[in-house]
């Protein structure tokens, strides 16, 4: 398989902060909002250089979403940032009515998504957000895998008209995608070709899938790795193309099984190309406090879980 290298580990939230700062320089219509989490969202640089285009909302997320919807009337492009839990579940009806149903050009920027938020525990570790957001008609759902990709995605969504949910996180993870990449919304990225199984991964689990594929290679299993950074709209063509070749699927995500990437892939394959599939995701459980790596292991969404899922799905493939 293709070799992947990285020079440093970085957090995806910093990729968002860097992208937002670039947008500050490039696009005068971009405005930012935050609900008392400037430092956590890495918005400091934008605020320092573009203070007139930033609105602090305080700990009042519902109002922030409504204000963001209003800011679009007259041509602004609001980037509203807070933790993923408070950016989705807490304000679902505000997003539903004032943003999605109203077709507003609001970018919901959600940090600290998933279980790798770590020590703060389950109150803050939302793993339902992708499901909540993808159910909203017209909502684009993006979950980039590393710093560079998050920065590129942040830049790209400013050029797209319509509501977007951009999901990123807190832990430092290998920054392996190119710094100069062009981010194409809705375009799956084939990271490494393989013939026995396709691993569809999103967010932090993309690097874990690369690690898993390296282990599988040593076992003589050739895994194709596809980075699904856009969960909605799903790149059905890329999914079907790969699966018609490998005929076995594993999905990997830092999210609940219900409503996640695996569920979108299974829905597509069930209708178009029924194929054995295993899903690496959290199954109907709340998280808990702990170190990100320990949590990924305990909740069954780590590298070895992807390896096991591949071994398992290949048995089902052979038995067909």
């Amino acid at each position: 398989m293709k070799k992947f290298e990285y020079t440093e580990k970085k957090d995806t939230r910093s990729g968002f902060g860097a992208g937002l700062y670039e947008l500050g320089k490039q696009n005068k219509n971009v405005v930012a909002l935050c609900a008392d989490l400037i430092g956590s969202l890495k918005m400091d640089a934008f605020i320092k250089d573009f203070p007139d285009r930033f609105y602090q909302c305080g700990i009042a997320e519902a109002n922030m979403i409504g204000v963001a919807a209003g800011l679009t009337i007259g041509g602004k492009i609001p980037f509203a940032g807070t933790f993923a839990n408070f950016a989705t579940g807490r304000v679902y009806d505000q997003i539903r009515q004032s943003v999605a149903y109203s077709g507003k050009n609001v970018k919901i920027c959600a940090s600290h998504a998933g279980i790798t938020l770590g020590e703060d525990g389950a109150t803050h570790q939302i793993m339902e957000d992708i499901g909540l957001m993808k159910m909203l008609p017209g909502m684009v759902v993006i979950n980039p895998c590393d710093y560079n990709q998050t920065k590129a995605a942040t830049l790209a969504i400013a050029d797209y008209f319509g509501p977007v949910y951009l999901r990123f996180g807190r832990p430092v993870v290998p920054n392996f995608t190119p710094a100069d990449q062009k981010f194409e919304i809705g375009k799956a990225l084939l990271l490494s070709e393989g013939k026995d199984v396709t691993i569809f991964a999103t967010g932090h689990l993309v690097w874990k899938s690369i690690e898993a594929a390296e282990i599988l290679e040593q076992k003589g299993i050739s895994a194709e790795i596809i980075n699904i950074h856009t969960i909605k709209p799903l790149d059905a063509e890329a999914v079907l193309k790969s699966v018609s070749k490998t005929k076995a699927v594993v999905t990997a995500e830092e999210h609940m099984l219900n409503g996640g990437l695996g569920d979108s892939i299974a829905q597509l394959l069930g209708r178009k190309l029924p194929t054995p599939i295993e899903m690496v995701a959290v199954n109907d459980k709340f998280g808990e406090s702990g170190k990100p790596e320990d949590l990924l292991a305990k909740y069954g969404i780590d590298t070895n879980n992807i390896v096991d899922a591949v071994v398992h799905v290949l048995k089902r493939k052979t038995n067909q």
């Binding site: 519902a62 204000v67 209003g70 009337i73």
Partner: protein, 281 residues
Amino acid sequence: MADIQKLKKIASQVRRDIVRMVHAQNSGHPGGSLGCTDFLTALYFEILEHESKNFDMDGKNQDLFFLSNGHLSALWYSVLARSGYFEVKELSSFRKLNSRLQGHPTTKEGLPGIRVASGSLGQGLSVACGAALTKKMNADPKIVYSLHGDGELQEGQIWEAAMFAAHHKIDNIISTVDYNGKQIDGPVDVVMSLGNLKSKWESFGWLVLEMNGNDIEDVVKTLKHAKSLTGKQKPIVILMKTEMGMGVDFMMGTHKWHGSAPNDEQLEKALAQLEETLGDY
């Protein structure tokens, strides 16, 4: 000087539209709509600087209005049609299948005059604040208006927005509260008291005015006064006393007509009290 007689004639026709629309589909919210008819008529026909013919979403260099209590849709649709946003005959499609006149207002069907969906209560003040900020950033001197129910003030988001507007000195917004004292389950004081509403808003940092929402002359005068108070670092709210069901005797003095439609006999009785001034749709 405002032509109060002319506004009264328009209001009478709007009230006819409301009861006819709600009756035709046996569905809708006549009570609050009739109560706020004088206000919305005065706003659209005397106060707002707007372009009804070439509606565009951004509304640059125009005043904007947001109906936060979206269940007053029949009222808003009638006023929009009567002021030229779309043809009056389209009012007959209210709440019907394939209509742009949805049960609660929406942008999705592209009905001119509407800039955000409303219906789920408490969201419109936040949206109005955002639109007002964009006007400031765009150096657009026009004003953003919004209307809210008094029951709607029970939603926490209203007070989040109230804090936000004062904190950011949003002084190009004039919000009005339909203070009719009634909501679906009964009197507001019985369902969930609002306490001293005037001092609540004042303590949140707003300039508070009061008016009789069923006296068109007072509405015009107060809205003009409110406009003269914009640009002074403070958001403005008008507590507007109205009578739910105003103009139709049997719909007044009760919350029962909040969300009920009149039957054929009641429609006739209602229409007999409302002069047809501009021609029914």
